[in-house]
């Protein structure tokens, strides 16, 4: 039975507000948990999608990660931020799922947004760098996802978190559960691998 919900103070700092939401959610307040889901759903979904390159799988795994997080809320001691703790659950679920798949990847890519064709970095990359000047963004997207799926899960994870989602080395180390040096070395190795796989598309 949930306690009466309290109206959150809109002027309160976001950190305190999250703490209040977490406390309420731990007491069974689904309204509070719904708010937490809405806060992090895009980032959690994006991480899982970039790891699996499959929208349907990402949808299932994202939902299950949030469900599992809710059932495990009582074990959240507050040692790390709720976001880091949630991220860790999602990543563990994704990696377990991928290991069960055993490299049987089924790609189901999302569409590119309208801004992709106007991104100066991408435009310059296609027009100047790639020898295959007639390649379009969709084909490039396919090649990129195929190359990512060739990486092992730990290496793919650091590339997705750092190079795609902009997470810092320290945060990645905390999420993944390793030291910063390991994160850096994995990232370097993963980039080298990707560079080899995508040589035809980024070589000048």
């Amino acid at each position: 039975m949930s306690e009466p919900t309290t109206v959150p103070d809109p002027n309160a700092p976001a950190g305190q507000l999250e703490g209040d939401l977490v406390r309420r959610a731990r007491r069974g307040d689904l309204v509070a948990y719904d708010e937490l889901v809405k806060r992090y759903q895009e980032r959690i979904y994006a991480t899982i999608y970039h790891m699996t390159s499959n929208h349907e799988d990402a949808n299932d795994l994202a939902q299950e990660a949030f469900i599992k997080a809710y059932s495990a809320l009582k074990s959240f001691k507050g040692g790390s931020s709720f976001y880091t703790w949630l991220y860790r659950i999602a990543i563990n679920k994704t990696i377990n799922f991928l290991k069960q798949r055993r490299n049987k990847h089924h790609i189901s890519l999302n569409d590119l947004d309208f801004n992709a064709e106007h991104d100066p970095d991408l435009v310059s990359l296609i027009s100047e760098k790639t020898p295959h000047r007639d390649i379009n963004l969709s084909e490039l997207q396919q090649k990129l996802n195929e190359a990512l799926l060739k990486l092992s899960e730990p290496h793919r994870m650091v590339v997705v978190l750092h190079d795609v989602q902009g997470v810092s080395h320290d945060e990645i180390a905390e999420i993944v559960g390793c030291n910063v040096g390991t994160v850096r070395s994995r990232l370097f190795y993963a980039r080298q691998q990707l560079q080899g796989f995508l040589a035809d598309y980024i070589k000048s």
């Binding site: 719904d34 979904y45 563990n92 590119l112 997705v160």
Partner: protein, 175 residues
Amino acid sequence: MSDKNKNFRDLKRLLKLKQHEIPPPGYFHHLSGDVIARIQAGDSGRGHSFLEQIQADSPFAAALLQLFVSRPGIVGAFTTSVCLLLLLGVLFADRSDSGVAISGSGLFTDSSASASASASVDSPTLVASADTLAPPDSGITVSTNPISSLQPVHTLFGSPQNPLFQDVSFVPARQ
């Protein structure tokens, strides 16, 4: 700038393409609602994997498993130790059994030797053999294990007697 750094820059620019991938329109409008609905329905998600079950039931076991996964050398050392312990246990048990068997056969040897050497009219000793006790075609299995079949039985009334060895005495018929 080295070629490698330059290429990593191009790789990073290419990876920006991933940021432009978006789910179907309206997807995030109903994701949280779906999650809450499943929680209210008591849905615990797909079957937990073995690792997830361990993590939920016993964090200590999960941490131990994680240690083994991250340090395969420890697993090898642990397995080798267990195998060595098992082997030592088997060897030790085998030696204990052999020690008892040797003392049992010694008794058997002594009794059979004394039975054959000291056979006399006055106190003939019936020496039982496996064949007389159980002829080959009788279907009866007689164990020749000196421990089980020829272990002397201690009685209250005298020296230990072997159940297969009975002292027989007879008085010749008077003529």
